[in-house]
Amino acid sequence: MSARPVNQALAQEFGLSGEEYAKVLAIMGRTPTLTELGVFSVMWSEHCSYKSSRVWLKQLPTKAPWVIHGPGENAGVVDIGDGLAAIFKMESHNHPSFIEPYQGAATGVGGILRDVFTMGARPIANLNALRFGRPENPHTKRIVDGVVRGIGGYGNCVGVPTVGGEIDFHSAYDGNPLVNAMTVGIAPTDRIFLSAAAGVGNPVVYVGSKTGRDGIHGATMASAEFGANSEEKRPTVQVGDPFTEKLLIEACLELMATDAIVAIQDMGAAGLTSSSVEMAGKGGVGIELDLDAVPQRETGMTAYEMMLSESQERMLIVLRPDRAEQARAIFAKWELDFAVIGRITDTGRIVVRHQGTVEADIALAPLADEAPLYTRPTAETAKQPILNAARLDNRHGLADALLMLVGCPDLCSRAWVWDQYDSTIGGQTVKRPGAADAAVVRIEGLDRALALTTDCTPRYCAADAEAGGAQAVAEAWRNLTAVGARPLAITDNMNFGNPEKPEVMGQFAAAIRGMSQACRVLDFPVVSGNVSLYNETEGRPILPTPAIGGLGVLEEAARAVGLALGPWLDLVLIGETKGWLGQSLWLREIAGKEEGAPPPVDLAAERRNGDFVRGQIEAGRVRACHDVSDGGLLVAVAEMAMAGGTGARLSAGPRDVPGHAFWFGEDQGRYVLAVTDSAATIAAAEAAGVPAIRLGYSGGEDLTLPDGGTISVKALRDAHERFFPAWMDAPSG
């Protein structure tokens, strides 16, 4: 490697501040080598060290009797009964997906899968939470196309069904789309694999794909040694290889059925560096690596390059020495590279050798303990006024407004998207995308099923991050409840702008506060998550987007309810309606304004209403259920009608709420139930202290509105299904 002197200037290029570099010098007691500087810079990066977010993340509730492993492991682990655990996490791949949408999204899926199967779980479901710029923005179409193909391309090939997710459009994401991928896996509770290394002398084994110069620290791009490469600038984009990932899943699970593994960890961000440092650090041991043994795809790679490469589809394993040959045979069968590249020591140091030279020798404890931790300044975002619904201009009748809403980009059918995702593979998908508020996936061979959802309403978070944070958690809980599941835990993906801006850090802190309150009241702890900061272009941050991935359990998959409306049922609204139009989609799409305070979440009412609904579902009294969210009550009913191909006749709402506010307001904590006997449901609700009113009944081919308007279900579907195919498949650039 060409001699670039290691000094403060280089450290800064690598992303370390002057103060951070001074700490490095103090820890090392000498000038670090290039490789050592690389190790510090990636371990102390925002991505690996959570230096701006850690103080806030600590506030999140993470415990419950059913939580087996909370944050701190590769993924969260919860007990789901029958001796099984669900292992799940969500992770962002925002920046790569902007640069190269297909590969960025694909490798995002690959990365989160590895976080889950590295703990011993067979992945059984994928979900994704996506935010894109305005459809009118000329780049958006290309990004949507690439991201959707990439998610499908990877997930379909590895054979994990993609069963759910969400998509929003907003100009704030024009230059910075969000791609958050979630994976859920299943393992026996007594066969969960952790990453803490142990056993002095135990071999450290590298398996999977070979290492190339993929995604090495952007800073090196500018350094001299690549000058010879002429105009072919080295891309930071990694290409995913889902075929190799599939082999890696099967090989790892086969090895995990033996007792060969002491510790295992995927090589994610900062590859070999973070995996080896974290495994040894967590285990309180030392580690020695011999880079000559690392399987390499390219020639002449330096120690620095190998330690920082982010080549995909690789894992690091500490093995029992007497099982190394057995492990080698398994990986040979799956035609994957397998190499002993080091061993565990008792030195508490990481020592990296390459071609006879010690390229790095760092004490692990200070690398972890003295990692920077910032309590960055925060500033509150001014609260917006509560809108008075009665004063809002209401030019459109219910029917016109409904047709516009069900057809708008944020509410229209996503079938074009999920048709590109294999949702049935595995043969266990009880509720596919679009069939219910949460996806429901049965556990092979059992009656038990998991309910899964992702949720966040960024426009609420932008107006009031605390209310928005609470709302995101509450909506996830509500969606799980609406299929009849018992919500267990969440994973989160905190997508925000530049944390050095007090307003952004203020949003972050407020969102955490709101989430924490909701998690506490709903008994819905955070067991894993991810933070993605610096989501900005040209100084303009994205909307604060704390995406929530929720997981719940159903003892009996057969009891899961969907949202498809059948004929001749009573429709009952659960929860209170004040007609909250601030930050509603009606306000944005129909009145053309984005303003006002977002709907508040009454967490006690949320819990009461949800527990009541779940009880009714468990008792078999509910034929269909749908939560009321974006677009409000009338959109919820229309969605049930479209899903079931059945119309409904709705009666007038209460007199004290204006019609448009009643039918399009986004008050929280509400559900629409389709039942055979509304009187019984309403009586039970009253007994439980839960507001309930009859909305009307189902049947026929039309939706008849309380103001006399009528729309056929077919017309609704046409409006609902038009946007995506017309936008994406229209022959244009």
Binding site: R213, P235, V239, G240, D241, T244, R297, S311, E335
Partner: protein, 80 residues
């Protein structure tokens, strides 16, 4: 004229397809197979009759649409 645009992954970028093809050729008993790279070729009939202008046009097409220059490089040849 006919322009032929060949699009390959840049060197250094992982080529999973090429890798798998190389494996398969070895399994079929072909010896002495080194690196295998897989790419795309696009043949375009052009109304343009001047070779240099045709090449220029095809290069622009490659930059704008046919190649993803973040990870791919291309070469153009013209014939007839």
């Amino acid at each position: 004229m006919k322009a032929v645009v060949t699009v390959m992954l840049k060197s250094g970028v992982l080529d999973p397809q090429g890798k798998a093809i190389g494996h398969a050729l070895a399994n079929l008993g072909f010896a002495g197979v080194g690196e295998v790279r897989a790419g795309k070729v696009i043949e375009i009939e052009l109304a343009e009759t001047d070779p240099e202008r045709a090449r220029g046009e095809a290069e622009e097409m490659a930059r704008k649409l046919l190649a993803n220059t973040v990870i791919e490089s291309f070469r153009v040849s013209v014939a007839e």
